[in-house]
Amino acid sequence: MADIEPITIAADHKSGSIPADFEPTIIAFVCNWCTYTAADLAGTSRQKYPPNVRLIKVMCTGMVDPKYVLKAFLSGADAVLVSGCHPGDCHYINGNYKARRRIHLVHGILERFGISRERLRLTWIGASDGIQFARTIKSMVAELKKMGPAITDMKQVI
């Protein structure tokens, strides 16, 4: 099909009116083999990270259907993190490559409806990267506090 103009995204539409006590909610889909283990390691090695994240363990990032991501946003999540094994390390050989294509697709579509790509992150955090996991959550929370809530009026999202 022929060219159409690229969508220009208006600056995050909600900025400017962030409640002072805003605590972002992050839903994280983490793979059993790498990032979940990393989160576990972060805990056992007493790494501190903000309690804003809700972990959902999945067997592989390749099984994260975009509708889970979408449902998270529509239920009030301010950001979604999908995290798994580094390329080449996938327990199921190539699940993370499939996840990357899918997230690329979802980025494009959600961006169009005002959910910027900073709110949907895909990261590779290996099983031994407990520190990296804690750091990722910290930086996401700090960033989200500046950005404000993803959806300001949940009643309008039917």
């Binding site: 690229p6 509708k67 979408l70 997230i103 959600l110 169009r112 309008q156």
Partner: protein, 381 residues
Amino acid sequence: MEETYEIKGADRLEALRNFLGSLFETDNIGSILVPVQNETTHTIMPTLVSDPAVLAMADPFAPCFPLNGAKLVSNLTKRPGDKTMAVVLRPCELRALVELVKIKQARMDHLITISFDCPGAYSNKVFNRLPDRQEGHTLGFLKKRLESGFQYHDQDQDKNEISLTTACSICTSPFPENADICITLVDQPADTLGLFATTDRGRELLMGRTSSVKSLPETRDESIKAVLDQRKDAGKKVFEVLKSKTATLEKLGSYLSVCVNCYNCRVACPVCFCRECVFNTDVFDYEPFQYATWAKNKGSLRMPMDTVFFHVTRMIHMGLSCVGCGQCSNACPNDIPLAELFVSVGKEAQKGFEYGAGKDLDEPFPLSIFFENEFQDVTGI
């Protein structure tokens, strides 16, 4: 340029019928799927014809597009057969069929695809209310469309003109590209159709069948370009308005506010192929207490719920295959302008993968492949 042929008849419809009739003369074509007008009701529906006499009512050029025929071809070809069938499809139907073949929902091994310069169609509601829908209507419609160079008539500007559907008026691929046999109307005289083949199968069929070998009108390329330019401009305007109306999920909620979750758009969509859609499964069969909790948390719960969820999920699931046929709008009982929404989202999604839905059978569906060193910018913080 491909070798081109021409067929003659008293008018464009007769020329087409003559050609389709001649296909039956080759033994291996047993049936043709083509829109045929019903003698009593004058409705036009895709019909599987095996008796050449029925072709006298064949009317694929009518501004009537009751459903996307790709799904029908999927029904007809899902098991291997040995009889060759010909199907007459609009270019968007053909694109949908190509998408279905890629995901193994249809076969092309015993199929001859025939497509044509598509003059566009009215919505079902408009067409079914036309007082005069007989043969003369189609010819008059064709004449008008061709004389205006397939221009888009804005009903706001000219009250006497009936508007084509939005999907048709912003369609930038109305000319057949990858059919076995392509039929051309643009710049042809009223009693002539041009023919060319884009595949070996098509070439074989055309060879010897049509006596007069002629090149297509020299002005064709220019005329096509003019149509496409005008369509792109029309599309740009439509998409701009759409973007401002759907810039946030809240606004999208307002855009879809009259949706009753009937899922007709999903049924009408030719590339929404799942046998069991997740939205019909137990996943969405919530318990009564869940509704109560949600209503309490939000203060109120608009029902039926999950409307935005359904539509955006559909965009993600089939946006990459969206061929822009506009049947979603056609099927909507509450006239939600879904076609432009899906076309616009689909085009951008496809651009992200440098993919064109239905363009090329050999181009793999983007989510069915992956490479090691691609989309590096997607990951990381």
